[in-house]
């Protein structure tokens, strides 16, 4: 494990360009924030301005990325010393090493494309300046998260992306479900954030620093139980942000936001923040095998659960949302096997194909006049050929068919899990996890092909006349379709090599060497077969035998039961409602009436009433008659004289 190799002594290059990367979107957000009220006929400029800022940021990132050195080196920029308290000294500092560079490239690159796409998607919306302001603000927060030199700067970004996510989910806030979904996302994330903060406290309390390079050198001093505690607490934050069991419930609801938001925030970038954070603190996590095992189990369970739910959903965005949850589970599987670079590999490929899928879905939604139900699609490949091509390419990638991007990254994860001893409660569980992961791959292939078939093949079942989207929308999806297909094939090996410092050494031998390993070869064949089987089965059922599912549901009660369970998402939302939300509401109602109404309001209002009553008495002294004042004055003088004489 040479993750520990990057030490304090690593060469650090000051670079002013670095600060420009987050600064561009920040300036954009500020300008657009000022311009929210511009005239109707000038609102189209908002989207282009926002896109320009995103692209500028991307260009700077590319410039810096090309100059990035070996794993120990990093570009660094310290804006100022943020605060100092006791031994804690926190700088507002940015740092871009290889890992952060890769993430920044994905965030700004995919982000720019999605900005461009959003111009087309939102072109009828009257509050575009507000939308693009939030979008740029999100980009800023995300870049702060990725480039933060210490945990606190990361935390600021972490909260910032949460805020933007909330604002954008509830962007169309006039409809209550959207506002509710935003609130749900915010509250659920808050639970995770509490864990994240506690994790930061544990690290700071015991090591006296929150800076990543310093932490990397110091975590070795932690006693094992503290390392496990910190790792698990930080993972709670990742669970919230990256939508893992049990906090994944907010992500499917987050699809209430505009589709570019779903693509950018709830598929490509923000939800991968948890994966990035765990990777960033990889040096800590390798010291906490139990925490890693927990991560692997949670990730695998999430991958499976979400994939099963995705099987039965009819809303195209819901399918993609559960697919995202499932793929995030995959990433955590990789992290659980200490193969952090493989997790990031899947983050990158997933960003390509999932952003592409979401944007293609958005294009379909616009083309079908805001219809999201796949049962009202069908045969769209004729009316929307470009969108179809992109969706096809991205589906090819995610299903794990040979030589698509998902094939390489998913295989890398499965191999990492298979070949690494993951022990929980004394039992090695890596084979089980691998099996579940493989089954999930089958499900993934199945439900993605199902959505492809239902949307683009067969006969059109809708009522409106579908049409292809404008070039601002089709260009980004077609651009993203290319790396979805070719990224793993062209750069996969270089990529893993590039991030070797964050990976396991035994995995870092290159695909060619691995392919000579008989077991690896076999596993690769198996997963390839599984993917093909999933695709073929779904294509058969939904392409050739469209009545099969219906007749199955009619024939067997078991099928109906399973279908209902899947359609209702295993009733997890209802379960949370009954177990957590409803009791909380009851307790709150009691607290409200007893504590708030009676005690606090009573005290406050009582004080006011007491004062008012006193005033009622005292105000009578103010007669407004000069003679009575004079009388008081006189009486006072007499009293003073008597007092003086007597004493």
């Amino acid at each position: 494990m040479n993750i520990l190799g990057s030490t304090l002594t690593g060469q650090v290059t000051e670079n002013l360009l670095l600060v420009l990367i987050p600064l561009f979107p920040l300036v954009g957000a500020a300008l657009l924030g000022v311009a929210v009220g511009i005239r109707e006929d000038r609102r189209w400029q908002a989207g282009w301005a926002a896109t320009l800022f995103a692209v500028c940021s991307f260009v700077v990132t590319v410039k810096l990325f090309l100059g990035i050195g070996d794993a120990q080196e990093a570009f660094r920029y310290t804006a100022w010393r943020w605060f100092e308290s006791g031994q804690l000294s926190v700088a507002l500092a940015l740092r871009m090493d290889r890992l952060a560079g890769v993430m920044t490239l994905v965030v700004t690159g995919v982000g720019s494309l999605i900005h461009l796409y959003a111009i087309g998607y939102m072109h009828e919306d009257e509050s575009r300046p507000r939308f693009f302001c939030y979008l740029n603000l999100f980009l800023f927060a995300m870049l702060l998260l990725v480039l933060g030199e210490n945990l606190l700067v990361m935390f600021v970004g972490w909260e910032g992306v949460g805020l933007c996510s909330y604002l954008l989910i509830g962007f169309w806030y006039r409809e209550m479900p959207n506002a509710d979904a935003g609130q749900k996302a915010f509250v659920v994330n808050r639970i995770g954030d509490a864990g994240f903060l506690l994790g930061i406290f544990v690290l700071f309390w015991n090591l006296g620093t929150v800076s990543f390079p310093e932490l990397q050198g110091l975590v070795g001093q932690l006693p094992p139980y503290l390392a496990e505690t910190a790792a698990l607490l930080l993972f709670v934050g990742a669970v919230g942000k990256s939508a893992q069991i049990p906090l994944f419930v907010w992500l499917p609801d987050a699809m209430a936001g505009p589709t570019p938001v779903s693509a950018l925030i709830h598929a490509a970038t923000m939800v991968t923040a948890g994966v990035y954070m765990v990777t960033r603190l990889g040096a800590l996590y390798v010291l906490a095998p139990t925490a890693l095992a927990v991560i692997a189990v949670v990730g695998t369970a999430t991958a499976l659960l979400a994939a099963t739910i995705a099987l039965a959903q009819n809303d195209i965005k819901k399918v993609l949302a559960y697919s995202t949850v499932s793929q995030l589970g995959y990433m955590f599987m990789a992290l659980g096997a200490a193969a952090f670079s493989n997790g990031i590999y899947h983050v990158v490929t997933h960003a390509f194909f999932k952003a592409c899928l979401f944007m293609a879905a958005g294009s379909v939604i616009v083309g079908c006049h805001h219809e999201q139900d796949m049962r009202h699609y069908g045969g769209l490949r004729k009316s929307m050929p470009l969108t179809f091509l992109a969706y096809l390419a991205a589906t090819y990638a995610i299903t794990g068919l040979p030589f698509g991007a998902g094939f390489f990254s998913k295989d890398a994860i499965l191999w990492a899990v298979y070949s690494h001893e993951i022990v929980l409660f004394g039992t090695p569980i890596n084979r089980v996890l691998w099996g579940v992961g493989l089954f999930t791959a089958f499900l993934t292939a199945f439900y993605m092909t199902r959505s492809l078939m239902m949307t683009f093949f067969g006969e059109y079942r809708g009522h409106e006349h579908p049409h292809e989207s404008p070039w601002t929308m089709t260009t980004p999806i077609l651009i993203l379709a290319v790396p979805s297909l070719a990224f793993g094939f062209l750069f996969g090996e270089e990529f893993l090599h590039f991030l070797a410092a964050w990976g396991r050494e035994d995995l870092n031998v290159g695909h060619a060497v691995l392919a000579e390993n008989a077991t690896y070869h076999l596993l690769e064949m198996i997963s390839m077969g599984i993917a093909v089987a999933g695709v073929a089965l779904a294509a058969f059922i939904y392409g050739l035998q469209p009545r099969l599912v219906d007749s199955l549901l009619r024939a067997a009660a078991v099928c109906r039961g399973v279908h209902r369970a899947l359609l209702n998402k295993w009733w997890i939302d209802e379960l949370y409602d009954a177990l957590i939300v409803a009791p909380l509401r009851k307790v709150s109602a009691v607290l409200f009436s007893v504590l708030d109404r009676a005690l606090i309001d009573g005290t406050v209002n009582g004080t006011a009433l007491f004062m008012a009553a006193n005033g009622e008495i005292v105000r009578r002294m103010h007669t407004g008659r000069v003679s009575s004042y004079a009388m008081v004055l006189f009486a006072g003088t007499i009293a003073a004289i008597i007092f003086w004489i007597v004493l």
Binding site: V618, R619, H622, T623, G624, V626, S627, A630, M631, F634
Partner: protein, 100 residues
Amino acid sequence: MEVTQFYLVLGAVLFTLGTLGVLIRRNTIVIFMCIELMLNSVNLTMVALSRQFGEVSGQVFVFFVMAVAAAEAAVGLAIIMTAFRNYHSVRTTDVHDLAG
């Protein structure tokens, strides 16, 4: 000796009359005159005592009091004029906007 006592008694009587006038009367002009009465009763007392003890400072004080009283009369009468313009009355019972 005896003569001074008369002056002092007269001063006390005048002061009491002035005080009672200020307290009892409602007409601001009368109140004003009563204040003058009080000031002058004090002046009388000071002059009498100054005479008895052969001390000049008492008389000097009286000049100051007269000067201040003159200024006060000017200001006070102006206030009464203004009040009359606004309330069409100089009675204290009619001017009570500050009543609580």
